[in-house]
Amino acid sequence: MPLEDRSNLTLSSFLSHQAQAHADRPATEQGDRVITYSDLADQAGRLAAGLQSLGLKAGDRLAVILPNVVEYPIVIFAAAQADLVLVPINVRRSPDEVLARLRKTRPRAIITFADPGEHFGPDHSELALAAAAELADLEHGITIEGPARPGLTPLDDLLSAKASPPVAAARPTDPAAIIHTLGSSGDPRGAVLTHRGLIGNALAMARRLQATPEDVFLGAVPFSNTFGLTATILTALSAGASLACLPRFSAEHAGELLASRPISIFNAVPTMYALLLNHGSHRVGGTPHLRSGIVAGAPCPPELVERIFAELNCRVLLAYGLTEASPCVTCTHIEDGSITASRTVGRPLPGVEIKLVDSGGYPIAAGLEGELCVRGDNVMAGYWDDPAASAQVLDAEGWLHTGDLATIDPDGNVQVIGRQDDVIIRGGFKVYPQTIEMVLRTHPLVREAVVVGVPDLIYGELICACVVLQRPDVNSEDLRAFAAERLADYSAPDRVHVFKALPRRGSGVVHRNYLSQLIRIRGRAWVFGKNIDTDAIIPARRCNTADPRELALYCMEDADPEFIRHMQRGDLIVADSNFGCGSSREVAPLAIKAAGVSAVIAASFARIFFRNAINIGLPILECPSAAAEIQPGDDIEVEPATGTIHNLTNGKTYRAAPFPDFLQQIIDKGGLLAYVEERLAETRTPNHERPTPEEQR
């Protein structure tokens, strides 16, 4: 019976089916080690027996803190065969973060490794011992490598157990794994995923990839998350393909493997492909066998997809998913046209239902933007031991409310627009500002800390912490180090900026979007010359409308017809002195702001355009030398807060004239209206009665 016809499998029955079908074919490999399907089933059975011999019982949790090693799949299937619930934890998490997850799931055993810490952060065997001392339920520490240590059992000892392998009793709807994700406040939540959900998702992904036993998958995304566990390990195995394990991703290592091994499918977050392409190693050794892969985990720029298609000759599929959905919800098809393939995340997988709802939870009309909801076997049973959190995202009809905003085109392809909250996605890792803010606020000299994401071509977003200090006795680098010691390495702030005050909305809440613009803006330069008169554009565009908003749509297009068509959000405008005279008033700045431009570099502070830009909260840097030397299309990075302009194309750095304090106040508040609101409030409220910003929040 073909595997895809058997929807009611458990991980254990799935493996025994595959071990029979592909017995001597390689299932996994790492360096010289190759494990066939029958070896995998055999070792999983022996480890299951070993785990049972330690006294672990059905339903007990087994924590796993391992890099992408060849033992990982053995552990997954051993846990299933012993009816244990797997709790994978990323090796890059800090000791505190690991402990928080262990406290929550109370595992009886932990499988980790004794790496000296050079590559994977803390010594996890030490960590396991420390955790065992603290957590009453945690009775067993098991290591896969390194010297034997008192209190820790080598994995090899369990694999050599003589007892016969247990027969799994779990049903397809029973929990197979608890995988942690972060709630909106940054606290970890364990999504309980079922056997049926994981396997169904993997089978569907294998079909979208058109994977066959001839394929070799590169196991580069962490096996501890669903992208690694379901979409990579289980997807490869459900096709009868093999999986090459890459313990820790680097562009160099990945490039070597892609050149030396017949790897045909490379699942990755967009950052991995960007790093690979930028590293250039693929040009040396080539990627002779690479044909596809799933790109997910973070928004993927269409340009990157096009580069992957062209430079790697690899037809990647864009997918949308989330831990709570095991993970995959939608995915493009290999046959899709280039627009669908690069600008959407495709259509739902078979058996997965989706819908968009408005803020009230009601379905919205076709073509409009709404919160994406998902229903199907792949949706989690709930959050582990957290019915309140489960009820927040799972409704009575079984819909999972993802918190992601999306649209669906007439062909059913989904475009994800953004998050409903402030999550930063750095290199595919979700980073929650609140977690980092909490850490920074524990520093004695930090009065306020707000963390925002800023655009980055490689990582998608970088993490920027904006702090207000009690006293100027600590510098940015010290604060960065302070946070890095206490956080997972990928969630440590990339940059720390010290502010005198943070921009706030009228309500007193920090204006995060504006803050992120202030910190850093990067994009291509559009250069406009003298006397772009938007008045002239009214008739020139055959748009002699009295509506300034309608006019706004046309005015920049007339200035440069390529502008609207090709600009990206975050692009910059370099303007000569008389740019936007005439009745441009707000029209030009509004138009470019609406189009997504996030800053203007101007030769001179003059004309209505410039003051209007400031008034609507669009930073303008006055810098004649930068304006004169920047060429159209240059890659520019600006930091309005410091007045720094880096031209990454010509390698020059410019300093803009600093804004006078007076204007900085308006800019810091995000525009003139917030300033007006505050002034009006001042006139209404006597000084002694005025609430502090803290009180306002």
Partner: protein, 420 residues
């Protein structure tokens, strides 16, 4: 160190004894102004501010002049929203039939006096410098803020002095002086600076001539254009307003970024060729170029004196059969005065179309938009590509004499050449 006229006005408006170029100040405004085009956005912005109220309803003015009488449904809706806002907040509102082009209308209504600071959401707010008031264009967000606070932020500009001496020849007026000035300094020659106009020629200029000059200061990039208010300005003001003005003068030792001198004795009428107001030549150099349309009036040359000038040329004649002419008085009052003086009859008998006051064709809105390859002589202030219609149409900027003479000739013509 002495102070310029502009520095004195701004110091007074921000309550300081003196201000310096480059200094950022917050100044009290005497009038906040918007048209329907800028007003609709200003209203939206104003409504976003929690608890905002109009700081002084008598000092906030909305003038419906750009696309009025409403040329389409969208214009009608925009004007309607301005009308409703004005009613709700009881601010000054000038509607069709009771209005005019804002810069002609407000001085006429006595709402501007010398020494005022006017913040207008229209770039030609610099016009009020003709009577010694500091007017400057602001954005709609600025206008919303000014409506609520009664103040605006400003960077104190440097001033440039323009001295005109000699004897002004016949057919040469304020429009020619400003065109030649812009030709000399370029369209960004006074960028973020004040153009201060003075000299013996200026002293003898009519208010309408001064109006045309100050109106076009923005075309040289200026923050505003200023004349010191003299006896002529005093008489003009006192006939229209009960409010006393402040008659500031620049000090002898005031500091100027630059000084330009012009001997006007050799001037002849000038004309700005497409597509910049600085692309200026003597009319004689381009005479003979065939034209399709003439527009006389609007804000730059829409005062009674300007209509008189045109009517003087057109009286008893008919315009060339290949040309259509549109006359646009600057305000209802100018229209009525012209009617009483018989000017409107002259225009109609000359086969000109006479329009209600509106900015209309100046910005390619309505009432005389140009087709491809059409050429127009206009007394307005801008001739950018596509400004008055099709991108391949052309606008030539000139004074009312030249415009009227060209309408008669069917080509660009100087009034000097007209048969007696």
């Amino acid at each position: 160190m002495g102070k310029t006229l502009a520095e004195k006005i701004l110091a007074h408006k921000c309550g300081q004894s003196e201000v310096y170029p480059g200094q950022f100040i917050t100044a009290r405004v005497d009038l906040v102004l918007a048209s329907e085009l800028s007003g609709v956005l200003a209203i939206e912005e104003f409504n976003k501010v929690n608890g905002a109220r109009i700081f002084d309803p008598q000092k906030v003015v909305l003038v419906m002049d750009h696309f009025t009488p409403a040329k389409d449904i969208k214009s009608a809706e925009i004007v309607k929203s301005c009308r409703e806002f004005a009613r709700q907040h009881e601010i000054r509102f000038y509607d069709v039939g009771r209005a005019g082009i804002q810069h002609v209308l407000l001085p006429e209504q006595g709402l501007v006096v010398p020494g005022d600071l006017i913040a207008g959401a229209d770039s030609h707010t610099c016009t009020y410098g003709f009577m010694g008031a500091f007017g400057t264009g602001i954005g709609s967000t600025d206008a919303a803020a000014a409506m609520a606070l009664g103040e605006i932020w400003l960077k104190v500009p440097q001033s440039i002095k323009f001295i005109y001496y000699g004897k002004l020849p016949k057919w040469v007026g304020g429009k020619d002086l400003i065109l030649e000035t812009i030709r000399r300094i370029g369209v960004d020659g006074a960028r973020y600076q004040v153009m201060e106009f003075c000299g013996e020629v200026v002293d003898s200029l009519s208010m309408a001539d001064r109006f045309a000059m100050a109106n076009m200061a923005i075309e040289a990039g200026a923050k505003t254009g200023l004349f010191a208010a003299d006896q002529v300005a005093r008489r003009f003001t006192e006939r229209r307003s009960q409010r006393p003005g402040q008659y500031w003068q620049s000090d002898e030792d005031a500091n100027y970024a630059e000084t330009y001198e012009f001997d006007v004795s050799g001037f002849e009428p000038f004309i700005a060729l497409p597509y910049l107001p600085s692309n200026v030549k003597p009319v004689s150099e381009v005479a003979g170029l065939s034209i399709d349309q003439v527009v006389i009036g609007m804000c730059t040359n829409g005062n009674l004196e300007d209509l008189r000038a045109a009517a003087g040329i057109l009286k008893g004649r008919q315009i060339h059969p290949n040309v259509r002419a549109v006359i646009i008085p600057g305000s209802q009052q100018v229209y009525l005065d012209a009617l009483r003086e018989g000017l409107i009859e002259i225009f109609i008998q000359a086969n000109c179309s006479v329009s209600t006051p509106t900015c209309g064709p100046c910005l390619g809105g309505h009432m005389g938009v140009l087709a491809e390859d059409e050429r127009c002589v206009s007394t307005s202030n801008r001739n950018f590509r596509g400004r008055m219609g099709h991108p391949e149409s052309e606008v030539y900027l000139a004074n009312p004499y030249v415009a009227a003479a060209s309408a008669l000739a069917g080509h660009i013509a100087s009034p000097v050449e007209l048969p007696a």
